[in-house]
């Protein structure tokens, strides 16, 4: 089975001083049809750049240095402008973190949904509007016949994100990239949106690349999880096994650092140091300065993203060793 979206060895750089900054390096990632892949990482890990690169929506100063983005089996890194216009919104769609700023404040919600249909399916304005109302109903917007003519500022945050989702779903894309779709929302609204996304995934069978920093959201949504740190994939695993037994020290420490609502720990497990900016990515394993398990080799050599016998992947020289400091509490 071919993946709906597959990034292989993708590297992106931005202008910097004195050289260009490699913001993401050799990212491998695949989203199968109907699959939800969670891409987690802290700020500066490069997860948003990865998403934008997959859409070929990077700002003009950014450059894809290497790698490929396969969408339905075709590499779009070399795609022409025209091809990209056909693909975006039709085969691959994206929703963003800030539903307020992601909608154009001067156009009605229904128009912004219908616009995609006009462009990709050649629908007339009236038809597009009818479809927009249907789509709005499908994403759970009450009274869509009325809401269709609302401007974004008249909608609540949750409703705006539903409009964004309706817009993304309009052409039944094969892949949806959701970049922190619920970060700006309150928990109760977040729960609604996540539920909606689950339902849509089941109904449409599209693959979802869910980008978030919230390990809780990933746990409830994703089938597979990719953990990024400092522009690289550190670990990839099915969601249950990752949470049950993370291989990479970073994943391990991260999971232990989260305060839980269901139990109160006296002290949280903290990860020393800070996440490095792209200009100061360390040599060797990029996590080594903060890693309690680091050995000399970690400082010198970049470990490869190795596939384990169980099909999981981890980028660590010490994967599989027992009794590492990061494993203790």
């Amino acid at each position: 089975m071919t993946a709906a979206l597959e990034l292989s060895r993708l590297s992106v750089s931005f202008p910097g001083q004195p050289d260009r900054l490699r913001v993401i390096e050799g990212i491998d990632l695949a989203v199968g049809p109907g699959e939800v892949v969670g891409l987690v990482g802290e700020s500066g890990s490069g997860k948003s750049v990865t998403a934008l690169a997959a859409m070929r929506l990077l700002p003009s100063v950014a450059r894809i240095d290497a790698g490929a983005v396969h969408l339905g089996g075709r590499d779009i890194v070399g795609a022409s402008r025209q091809e990209l216009l056909r693909i975006r919104g039709a085969e691959i769609a994206m929703i963003f973190q800030e539903p307020m700023t992601s909608l154009n404040p001067l156009f009605r919600a229904g128009f912004q949904i219908g616009e995609t249909l006009e462009v990709h399916l050649g629908l007339s304005r009236a038809e597009a509007r009818r479809r927009a109302i249907e789509l709005m109903r499908a994403v759970g917007i009450p009274a869509p016949e009325v809401r269709v003519d609302d401007y974004p500022h008249q909608l609540s945050g949750g409703m705006r994100q539903r409009v964004m989702i309706a817009m993304a779903m309009a052409c039944r894309p094969k892949v949806l990239i959701a970049d922190e779709p619920t970060t700006a929302l309150d928990v109760t609204i977040q729960a609604q949106i996540l539920q909606l996304m689950r339902r849509l995934r089941e109904e449409s069978g599209m693959g979802i690349l869910l980008i978030t920093h919230d390990l809780g959201v990933v746990a409830g949504m994703a089938d597979r999880v990719v953990v990024m740190y400092a522009g690289m994939v550190m670990e990839e695993a099915p969601v249950r096994s990752l949470y049950a037994m993370p291989h990479h020290p970073y994943s391990r420490l991260l999971l232990k650092a989260i305060p839980r609502v269901r139990e109160r720990a006296d002290r949280l497990n903290q990860i020393a140091g800070t996440t490095p900016p792209a200009s100061r990515f360390p040599s060797g394993c990029r996590f080594h300065p903060r890693c309690p398990d680091a050995i000399d080799r970690c400082r010198m050599e970049l470990p490869p993203l190795e596939t384990m016998p169980d099909g999981r992947k981890s980028r660590c020289w010490r994967t599989g060793e027992a009794g590492l400091p990061s494993m203790s509490t």
Binding site: F14, G16, Q17, G44, A62, A278, S279, R280
Partner: protein, 292 residues
Amino acid sequence: MIGRTAAEAISEGSRLAEFSRLFLANRSAMLGATIVLIAVVVALLSSWLAPTDYARTNMLFVWEPPGDDFVLGTDALGRDVFSRLIVGARVSLTIALSVLAIALTVGTAAGMAAAWNGGWIDSLVMRTADITFAFPELIIAILVAAILGPGILTVIISLSLVSWPGIARIVRALVLTLRGELYIDAAIVCGTPPTQILLRHCLPNIVPALIVRASVGVGFIVMAEATLSFLGLGVQEPLPSWGGMIRDGLTALRTDPHLSLAAGAALGTTIIGFNLLGDGLRDLLDPRIRER
């Protein structure tokens, strides 16, 4: 995300170094800065640079064409145009900087007071500004200049009068924005008195915007001074002013074009310089378009 990364990248080196690098890379800003620098140096050294006394008349050499004796020729009174042009730089810049100094001081004080205190002070300052805005600036300047009679002081007063409300508005808006900043809240919480907050926290943070505004403002003031001089309300004879020189030369535009062209070019170039500099600084200092 990307912006954050870039911001972090910028925070790498020292801010000043980064600023200088970006500034040096900005072609038009550099051009502007060079022009302004030249104008300022010429103005400062005008007494040494001017080959002759700007007021010295000579009836034997009236309306001489540019040549060896007089680089840019002479005017109707046989005065050396080049010398007058150089001294004109001093006059124009002195006026522009005085007006700026007054407008900035008054405008900043008024804007800060209005933003911080709100209430009737705010109403008073902003309504005053509204009213000055509602009047066409130049007409007011002309009216005031006509009332006071021509002269440097007149120009300074009348242009200051129309310039401060703009500054006050900007400062007020900036301070109002700053009031929403958490570090201002933090300062209040740790007991910093209002005047200290305005001076230590607000002022340094609005200075970049004021610099931008000022460098663009200089252009306006130089132009306004020229217009007043053009209308005969500017600098008094025998002191030269570019606007006055353009006006005096216009009658002879086709026979002795160098008379108004030289002054026109000096004026235009200087204003272009300040505008380019202002634009460049805006690009670099205004955070709204700073990223990417």
